[in-house]
């Protein structure tokens, strides 16, 4: 099952921060491939969503970039800034709590819970 892009959109920044917290630096394509591989193709990040998020995180000061020549073209590597490192921990923790809450919400029989 491939998750919908709507579902991924809200979590993309957390995914990027998580990937970069475990790798010193990554470029766009590398991030998409790593996520694809880890999730067994279930999460496929689209270019149209990835790059706007990367630019936005950079503008927030959470990411820093390095540009290098790869043969005849340029490649932009992304890594976490000092602020980005602490923010990534925070975001991952928040997301874990969110997932636990969602699980609890979905597992509970709402009607029953309200009555008891």
């Amino acid at each position: 099952m491939l998750f919908s892009s709507e579902l991924i959109k809200g979590t993309l920044k957390t995914i990027i921060l998580k990937m970069l917290s475990e790798n010193r630096r990554m470029y766009g394509y590398e991030i998409t491939q790593a996520v694809k591989e880890i999730t067994g193709d279930k999460i496929q990040i689209r270019e149209g969503a990835l790059y706007p998020s990367l630019h936005s995180l950079e503008a927030e000061g959470l990411l820093i970039t390095e540009t290098e020549y790869i043969g005849k073209r340029l490649r932009i590597y992304y890594s976490l800034s000092k602020e980005g490192k602490s923010k990534s921990k925070e975001k991952i923790k928040e997301f874990n709590e969110f997932m636990a809450t969602m699980k609890h919400l979905l597992d509970t029989k709402t009607k029953h819970a309200l009555l008891s």
């Binding site: 394509y29 270019e47 706007p52 936005s56 503008a59 927030e60 540009t67 005849k72 340029l74």
Partner: protein, 296 residues
């Protein structure tokens, strides 16, 4: 062997990305790199490059490639708001810090002068016997005919005036080096003289000099010459040279209380030091304040 794109092919892709409406340079680099990797994975020898490229680039968007740029810009717009917020906080922080520093400086200055005034008030109770005796003796030697009044005001100048003082006395604001010239020094004595004319108190004004007076440094002749020219200008004041001993007596008297030489001080008939002030405490201003309190 993996497929390697030629320079022409890379240029072709970059131009195409630009033509599809992507203007942000960084985003152009992102997309060019991304699509190049895809192509190098997919292309095989003999494939139609443009056909494979068209298929690959179409995966990037729903309608147009520039929708990525639009999305990026819309996210950045929000970020700018936060960035500006940070800048405003920074400005606020800096201005607050500046105000705190300037405020404490003003408070410090206020207490510093207040303390100096208090020291002077404390001094009213002390005596200056040793110095006073020496002073009277020197006056008798130099000016046997002169009638010494109830108070003696000794001006022992040689330090430059502050800008604030200069303004009070309507003097030009000179540079520090110029202030240390003879003209500057004369202007200071002139200020004391003008005060003596304003406040007609029962005071004998003495302009005192060291043997080698500042700013002449180690030149006794220059000090003498200066005194002669001063005598012609200020007829009412008395001039005393070689007053190092007087200053030593003063220092003895004020031991531990003043760090600097006094520039102006006043002694009464009973050898009481009733006023003293140094350069750092706006001498002329305080002298004027003091003269106001004396009976006319």
């Amino acid at each position: 062997m993996p497929y390697s794109l030629s320079e022409e092919q890379i240029d072709y892709i970059l131009n195409d990305i630009k033509q599809r409406g992507v203007e942000m340079e960084k985003l152009q680099i992102n997309l060019l790199d991304h699509v190049c990797i895809l192509l190098e994975e997919r292309l095989k020898e003999g494939d139609d490059f443009k056909k494979v490229y068209e298929e690959a680039i179409k995966e990037f968007f729903d309608k147009n490639l520039n929708e990525i740029e639009k999305e990026t810009k819309s996210l950045l717009k929000n970020k700018h708001y936060y960035k500006m917020k940070k800048v405003w906080y920074f400005i606020l922080f800096v201005s607050l810090g500046y105000n705190v520093i300037m405020g404490s400086k003003a408070v410090y200055k206020y207490f510093k002068y207040k303390n100096e005034m208090r020291e002077w008030l404390e001094l009213k109770e002390t005596t200056f016997k040793e110095g006073h005796t020496y002073l009277l003796q020197k006056l008798k030697e130099e000016y046997p005919e002169a009638k010494i009044k109830d108070y003696i005001c000794i001006s022992f100048l040689g330090q430059p005036m502050s800008d604030e003082e200069r303004e009070i006395f309507g003097l030009d604001k000179d540079t520090a080096s110029e202030r240390q010239t003879l003209i500057g020094l004369k202007q200071e004595y002139k200020s004391i003289d003008s005060l003596s004319n304003i406040y007609k108190n029962n005071i004998t004004y003495v302009f005192a000099f060291e043997k080698n007076h500042f700013p002449f440094r180690k030149n006794e002749e220059a000090t003498d010459e200066f005194i002669i020219s001063m005598k012609q200008e200020f007829k009412s004041a008395l001039f005393l040279k070689d007053m190092n001993k007087l200053m030593a007596a003063y220092e003895n008297n004020r031991k531990g209380k003043v760090k600097f030489y006094p520039t102006i001080f006043v002694v009464d008939r009973n050898s009481k030091l009733v006023f003293d002030c140094n350069y750092f405490a706006k001498q002329h201003v305080y002298l004027a304040k003091f003269l106001k309190t004396l009976p006319g």
